[in-house]
């Protein structure tokens, strides 16, 4: 089984490559990269005018499997991933049951391998039962395939537990992944605290709830010399804290979602529950800080925080609607938009979706070097399409981008040399 | 005022008509006992004030004067969004009174029906009478005026307007020929 991808503009930030050349895949591995190649018996993909990149990596998704398959499951979630150009996902452990033991890890990986359309790397829990009290068996979880540890959605409030988690994970070599938020400051807030929340009469979540916890977690990482990965960063202050920490050598990595660099709190007007997420949509100033953070490398990667919910959980009053939106199928064009508006170079954008997240989590992906697993995405950067939530691959339809005109899409997605998505 | 408009009554004509109506009211009711004048907003209320003044000039006594807004009693309310609600000012009990309703132009009779309902909601008058400056026909309800300034056969397409000056004095009655 050979596949030859011809004439595409190959962008491979991990190897500093950006030029038109061909790529030959044999037996699921990248066999050779070069100009004007031919290969007997190979299936040929003509990538003229397209961009060929390493398979995209999303470090933050909720696949809802096991336990909430009515929202999404590993099959539908990875199909949505493939349609969005992603070949690797890191799934968060707020499943039912949570990912605090080897059994659940093995179930997820097996199902993804057997029935899924993307690699799934589970993020195990920091604490047993996600209760924030006792550490999970991190060695065992890592051996089973976990690439990091998080109690995502439920911030680790206890400083002691966070300190111990960082200390314990350090020799294992996996990051502690944090949803950094001081819940006592969030209270029952439902959107960013500011003028819009004041006007709409909705309880606000102040930026300090994120900034304060990011600062604490960075300091704990610094104190323990262990790696912390800050999930879905959303405030100007948090980006600045990461920037300063990186400058002094703290092992901190972070990610930003497309919605946090695209939308502001203004999207909440009209009480649109598709604009309700955690962390909340912030201000234009914060959006600018996200772009600047991506541009200067403070923010390592772009992650979707793909969070499927059933319409019954969104079609309610704003205050009681669930947090989150789906994002796998809209992340790529929203990222390319940053390139079009000049916030990022195309190489920076690709790096934020491939090599950088791979590096943050120590994944052997995100590269097109000969010998690497053939996870490849072929992108048509000019393709215009309109988002129709109902027509997306995800089981859920909770997206604020429904009806938006997007530019750019994955036309081929290959995992280990197998085509997982071909755009019709 | 368009060239095609026809003046039906000028200021002097209106004044003579109202003077005659004032006398007729007094004659018909044998004086002013229990008499009350109620004008229908807007237009009828200005004429009612004039009539009341004329009656008091004749009799030397002011009869009670009121104004009624019939918007809330219209039969087309709820299908129209352009109906401004005016104030009803009847500061005397209507029960037992001989109420003379005053309006400028009588047409379908629907306004008068509404005005009668509005008055009855305020109490039980001994009787209700109707004074009209101009009757143009085309009744849709069985309503007949007791006092008429002028009868004027019109076609449905035509309009009749009573003009008032800034002091709310009637200046002329115009027939507007449309189409």
């Amino acid at each position: 089984m050979k596949i030859l991808i011809q004439n595409g503009r190959m962008i491979d930030p991990a190897n500093g490559i950006d030029k038109v050349q061909d790529l030959l895949i044999e037996e699921g591995v990248i066999a050779k990269v070069g100009e004007k190649m031919t290969a007997k018996g190979a299936e040929v993909i003509d990538a003229s005018g397209k961009i060929v990149t390493p398979g995209l990596i999303d470090t933050h998704v909720h696949l809802r499997d096991p336990g909430q398959e009515y929202k999404e499951d590993i099959v539908s979630g990875t199909r949505a991933a493939a349609a969005g150009g992603f070949t690797s996902l890191i799934c968060m452990p707020n499943t039912k049951p949570v990912i605090d033991n080897r059994c659940v890890v093995e179930y997820i990986i097996r199902k993804a391998n057997e029935e899924g359309s993307a690699n799934v790397f589970p993020c195990g829990n920091i604490s047993a039962g996600s209760k924030g009290e006792v550490l999970t068996e991190m060695h065992d979880l890592a051996d089973a395939g976990c690439v990091g540890f998080s109690d995502d959605g439920l911030p680790v409030i206890s400083g002691e537990i966070m300190l111990r988690a960082l200390e314990y994970a350090r020799p294992i070599g996996k990051p502690i992944v944090v949803h950094a938020e001081d819940l006592s400051l969030t209270g029952d807030g439902v959107m960013n605290a500011g003028v819009v929340s004041t006007e709409l009469g909705l309880k606000g979540i102040p930026w300090v709830a994120e900034d304060a916890m990011v600062a604490r977690d960075i300091m704990l990482a610094e104190f323990t010399d262990s790696q912390v990965h800050i999930c879905h960063i959303s405030t100007k202050g948090a980006v600045e804290a990461v920037r300063q920490a990186k400058a002094r050598g703290v092992k901190v990595t972070t990610e930003v979602t497309p919605h946090h660099f695209t939308l502001t709190e203004e999207a909440v007007r009209g009480y649109d529950t598709h604009a309700k997420m955690s962390p909340p949509l912030r201000t234009a100033e914060d959006v600018a800080a996200m772009k600047a953070g991506l541009a200067d490398g403070t923010i390592d990667g772009i992650a979707t925080d793909h969070a499927p919910h059933h319409p019954d959980e969104k079609n309610v009053e704003f205050s009681i609607a669930y947090n989150g939106i789906i994002g796998l199928e809209t992340a790529l064009p929203l990222t390319l938009k940053l390139v079009e508006e000049g916030a990022l170079t195309l190489n920076q954008a690709v790096a934020a979706l491939t090599s950088q997240p791979a590096k943050a989590f120590g994944l052997d992906r995100g590269t097109l070097a000969a010998g690497a697993v053939a996870d490849v995405t072929v992108i048509d950067p000019e393709l215009e399409w309109t988002v129709d939530a109902e027509a997306l691959q995800s089981k859920s339809v909770n997206t604020p981008f429904n009806g938006w005109t997007m530019k750019g899409a994955a036309v081929y997605t290959l995992r280990s040399g197998q085509v997982t998505w071909k755009r019709q | 005022m368009a060239d095609s408009d026809v003046i039906i009554l000028d200021q002097a004509g209106i004044d003579r008509a109202l003077t005659r109506i004032a006398h007729e009211i007094l004659e018909h009711n044998k004086g002013i006992e229990d008499l009350a004048i109620v004008g229908i907003r807007t237009g009828g209320d200005y004429l009612a004030a004039l009539l009341q003044r004329k009656i008091s000039q004749i009799e030397g006594v002011d009869v009670p004067l009121g104004a009624i807004d019939i918007t809330l009693y219209r039969d087309d309310i709820g299908t129209r969004s352009d109906l401004k609600v005016g104030k009803t000012d009847i500061l005397f009990p209507v029960t037992g009174k001989k109420v003379v309703l005053v309006d400028d132009v009588l047409f379908t009779g629907r306004t008068i029906r509404a005005a009668m309902d509005a008055v009855i909601d305020l109490g039980r008058p001994e009787c209700i009478q109707l004074a009209i400056l101009l009757d143009r026909g085309h009744r849709e309800f069985p309503i007949r005026p007791d006092y008429i300034g002028r009868n004027l056969p019109t076609s449905r397409e035509e309009e009749v307007e009573v003009d008032f000056d800034d002091n709310l004095q009637p200046t002329q009655v115009r027939l507007i020929k449309n189409g």
Binding site: G194, T198, L200, E317, F318 | I77, L122, G123
Partner: protein, 312 residues
């Protein structure tokens, strides 16, 4: 007269002209309540549903009286807010009521934006917001404004001070927006926990020393301190609140000599308002209640006139 509103959701939707239309209409309706037979047939055959998800005797009764005086058929439904994905949703509840073909739903709900949610989803019915969460309470602001206009003749250049838990007050928000639209100056005052500085950006002047706020005011409006709702974290005690932020005759002297004292009720005597001020000659609290019926009649009338006959 053009009143192009199918729903009455908040004060933001109104122009100065709209507000004047509502207040003029309410002035006309006030007379009806002074008659022996307090009833006109304006809304005969129309059904008004009071859908209250929060207990409220005053507002509900006021709307009920208003509907009855306009000859509408009214019914009261006390509903409870459901948890998400458990039992009936708000839309389910509303669709059930809609099946009974009401013309107007007057609703109060604990969640900000709930009336907007229903207005977006229901067809053929007008939604009238009787208070949503911490967002708005337009009929309360309009009755306050009617009272102010009646007593002081207009709004241009007036200084209106609102004191209390502004952050959680829908009355304050609606009054702020309405009064600003009509050209008044609005001052908001209270402790730092109750008056967020964001209100400056919404056009108010924020004060934390109420003496500064009251100084030269034409109107002083006190909000109810809801001990049960505001928990422990906003103020240390009602005693301290009363002393530093409550209205008493000494502080009231700083306002203009005939300044109005208003309160949306029910009052906490001795907390936000001292009894001598509550019983004083400057208070217009009962006029507010009376005008509440007239304003609600006007809103029901205007929104029903717009029913079905308005494009856009």
């Amino acid at each position: 007269m053009a009143f192009n509103h199918d729903h009455i959701l908040d004060m933001k939707q109104f122009s100065a002209e709209d507000i004047t239309t509502i207040l003029d209409t309410a002035d006309s309706f006030k007379e009806i309540s002074q008659r022996e037979i307090k009833k006109v047939p304006a809304l005969r055959g129309k059904t008004v549903v009071n859908l209250f998800f929060e207990a409220s005797t005053r507002t509900r009764t006021s709307f009920e009286v208003a509907a009855k005086r306009l000859s509408a058929d009214g019914l009261n439904i006390a509903a409870s807010t459901s948890a998400v994905v458990k039992g009936e949703t708000l839309e389910d509840t509303a669709q059930n009521i809609l099946a009974m073909k009401p013309n107007i739903i007057v609703m109060r709900h604990g969640h900000s934006g709930a009336p907007h949610y229903l207005a977006e989803r229901l067809e053929g019915v007008s939604i009238l917001n009787a208070g949503d969460g911490c967002h708005e309470h337009p009929s309360q602001a309009l009755l306050d404004m009617m009272t102010i206009r009646e007593k002081l003749g207009g709004f241009e250049g007036l200084k209106v001070t609102i004191i209390g838990d502004i952050a959680h007050s829908r009355v304050a928000r609606s009054n702020l927006i309405g009064l600003k639209t009509m050209g008044a100056e609005v001052r908001l005052a209270g402790p730092g926990t109750m008056v967020p500085r964001e209100f400056e950006q919404l056009g108010a002047k924020v004060h934390h020393k109420i003496e500064d706020a009251i100084d030269g005011s034409d109107v002083v409006m006190m909000l109810r301190i809801q001990r049960e709702r505001q928990g422990k974290t906003l103020i240390p005690s009602t005693r301290e609140f009363a002393r530093y932020y409550g209205l008493n005759p000494v502080k009231l002297k700083l306002a203009k000599p005939n300044a109005l004292v208003m309160h949306p009720g029910p009052m906490n005597r001795g907390v936000e308002i001292s009894s001598s001020v509550a019983d004083g000659e400057q208070n217009v609290i009962l006029e507010q209640v009376e005008n509440g019926v007239a304003v609600r009649m006007a809103l029901l009338y205007l929104v029903s006139g717009a029913d079905g006959s308005i494009d856009g």
